[in-house]
């Protein structure tokens, strides 16, 4: 058998977190997302558990971002996207009748690959979502709390009224995280949140995730395996299954992170985490 390359596994600060006995926030059943006719990701059955960090890893084009975006109906914004199957969020199918996508996104926030602060002041970036959702009581303290949670408060407290574009890339991304958590979502989806950042900014975001999972359920898509190993409690490995008409993403294996990286049960997972392909 192939020896597995040594990858640094997150040293759990407390007792190791496991999925057993935890409430499932998301349960997907036969989830298939297509753009036009071609499926981007096919037939995914996956459960995501409360107050854990779940990482989704896999090679480019395996549909990890597409999967993530289907969890808060972000794919609705792409006219050609079609979703089949079910995504149960605390037991309700978010694609079911009578479900309002705006309400879905209000509970399931998202942080994007490239920092996308609004062209407003730092204060207004965080305040905007609160104002839209009518959470206007105690605005200042809500903003301070969100920025503190995002480990940004000390860096920006003296320049709250200044434009957000004056911040560094890493600071902008933490501002986007603050913006997302200010509206008190239940889940935060992170789509390669550190891929545009330098290593120091990346490690700050990773530290942040350890803190945030106490209050939120986090799902992170990353192409960086070390990152998944460092931050995630559970890891799902997706890969591209080639077919005659091109290929589509499939879920290969989903387990506790140490298991995925040290004793994967699928050859394809092993190949990926040992760096033999992808």
């Amino acid at each position: 058998m192939q020896t597995v390359a040594p990858i640094e596994i997150a040293q759990p600060r407390e007792a190791p977190l496991s999925a057993s006995g935890r409430e499932a926030v998301f349960v997907t059943r036969g989830l298939t997302v297509s753009y036009g006719k071609a499926p981007a990701v096919s037939n995914v059955d996956l459960s995501i558990y409360r107050n854990l960090v779940t990482a989704i890893i896999g090679p480019s084009g395996c549909g990890k971002s597409t999967f993530l975006r289907s969890l808060n109906r972000m794919n609705d914004l792409i006219p050609a996207a079609k979703v089949e199957g079910e995504v149960h969020y605390h037991g309700q199918n978010i694609y079911g009748d009578g479900v309002d996508p705006v309400e879905v996104r209000r509970r399931i926030g998202m942080v994007f690959q490239k920092p996308n602060p609004f062209p407003k002041s730092i204060y207004d970036n965080v305040a905007w979502g609160l104002r839209v959702l009518g959470m206007k009581d105690d605005l200042d303290s809500r903003i301070e709390r969100a920025l503190t949670q995002a480990a940004l408060w000390d860096e920006v407290k003296d320049r709250l009224k200044k434009g957000a574009f004056g911040l560094s890339g890493g600071q902008q991304q933490r501002l986007c995280i603050a913006r997302a958590i200010a509206v008190e979502p239940d889940v935060v989806l992170l789509d390669e949140p550190a891929s545009a950042l330098d290593p120091i900014a990346t490690s700050k975001i990773e530290d942040l995730m350890h803190e945030l999972k106490n209050e939120y359920t986090l799902v992170i898509v990353t192409h960086n395996m070390q990152q998944a190993a460092r931050v995630a409690d559970m890891t799902a490995f997706f890969t591209l299954e080639r077919t005659e008409s091109g290929g589509h993403g499939v879920l290969v294996e989903y387990d506790e992170t140490p298991k995925i990286f040290t004793q994967p049960s699928d050859k394809r997972t092993e190949g990926y985490v040992t760096g033999r392909f992808g």
Binding site: G109, G129, A180
Partner: protein, 294 residues
């Protein structure tokens, strides 16, 4: 074999010399063309100013035309009239134009959006005299001229300019910003209102200013709708008012050489007005940008 000395030569060969010459020639031609555009503007402004300078006076701005046979008098009624006309037209065209642009870029399906853009372009290409006649037939026949009817005609001219300019800048707003807003649980409309529109404010302002400049100089739509006015200053849009372009025409047709000078002076006022609002818009835009980036 000896190394070919010319193979690594770094001096000009005949061929590269020719290419350099062509390059130089094109650069000179392009520069001349650019200078010519600036020169035309300069010549127009200078000659208009020179010819009109003698007529510029306090009375010119504050008085209406002198009664026949008397000297002196001014164009106050035309200045106020144009102000009323353009302000009212802007108030009509800008909100509707922005709404059209929002529909096209944020809500319509791509096919309908393309069709709408085409319609706007055709509307933009419509000769202004046609719009004048249309408004004449629609509003003026039977009830007479009025400033607001002239404004309505001007608004039709401004509408496609505002809508297209706005739609172009809305298209430049990165989709990641819209996604960021939607991901917070904002509705489409709140996203547009709170994030997309403020981001494109500068471009909308610039488009509006261009439309205002165009409307201020339009003559044809006003001929039928608001050209026969009393010789008095009026701010009432229900009355027909005189306007700068119509007055320039009337003064230029006059037998009195002093009126010719007034026509030039009025032309100078019109050019200055357009110049000042363009510069103001740029200034506002620059301040707005720097505020965002600080």
């Amino acid at each position: 074999m000896a190394v070919d000395a010319t193979r690594f030569s770094l001096t000009l060969s005949r061929r590269t010399r020719r290419r350099k010459l062509v390059n130089l020639l094109m650069q000179v031609l392009a520069t001349i063309a650019a200078l010519a555009a600036v020169a035309v503007l300069a010549v127009v402004i200078i000659s208009v100013a020179q010819r009109g300078a003698s007529a510029l006076s306090w009375d010119f701005f504050t008085k209406t035309a002198a009664t026949f046979g008397q000297s002196g008098g001014g164009v106050a009624d035309a200045l106020v009239g144009s102000l009323v006309l353009v302000a009212l037209a802007t108030a009509m065209a800008v909100p509707v134009g922005i709404l059209i642009a929002l529909y096209v870029s944020e809500f319509a399906s791509p096919r309908i959006a393309d069709a709408a853009k085409l319609v706007l372009d055709v509307l933009n290409g419509l000769p202004s005299i046609i719009i004048g006649i249309f408004v004449f037939a629609l509003l003026v026949i039977g009830s007479g001229q009025a400033a607001w009817k002239g404004s309505f005609a001007l608004a039709i001219i401004m509408l496609p300019l505002v809508a297209r300019a706005t739609q172009e800048v809305l298209a430049l707003v990165p989709s990641t910003l819209r996604e960021g807003a939607m991901a917070l649980g904002a509705s489409r409309w709140r996203t547009v209102l709170g994030v997309v529109l403020p981001t494109s404010l500068g471009g909308i302002l610039t488009g509006t200013v261009l439309a205002v400049a165009r409307a201020a100089g339009e003559t044809a739509p006003l001929l039928f709708t608001t050209s026969i006015a009393a010789n008095a200053v009026t701010w009432d849009p229900r009355q027909p008012v005189l306007s700068i372009p119509i007055d320039i025409f009337a003064l230029a047709e006059s037998p009195d050489p002093a009126d010719h000078a007034r026509a030039w002076a009025l032309g100078f006022v019109l050019i200055s007005f357009v110049l000042v609002i363009s510069l103001t818009a740029r200034l506002l835009l620059a301040r707005y940008r720097s505020k965002l980036e600080r």
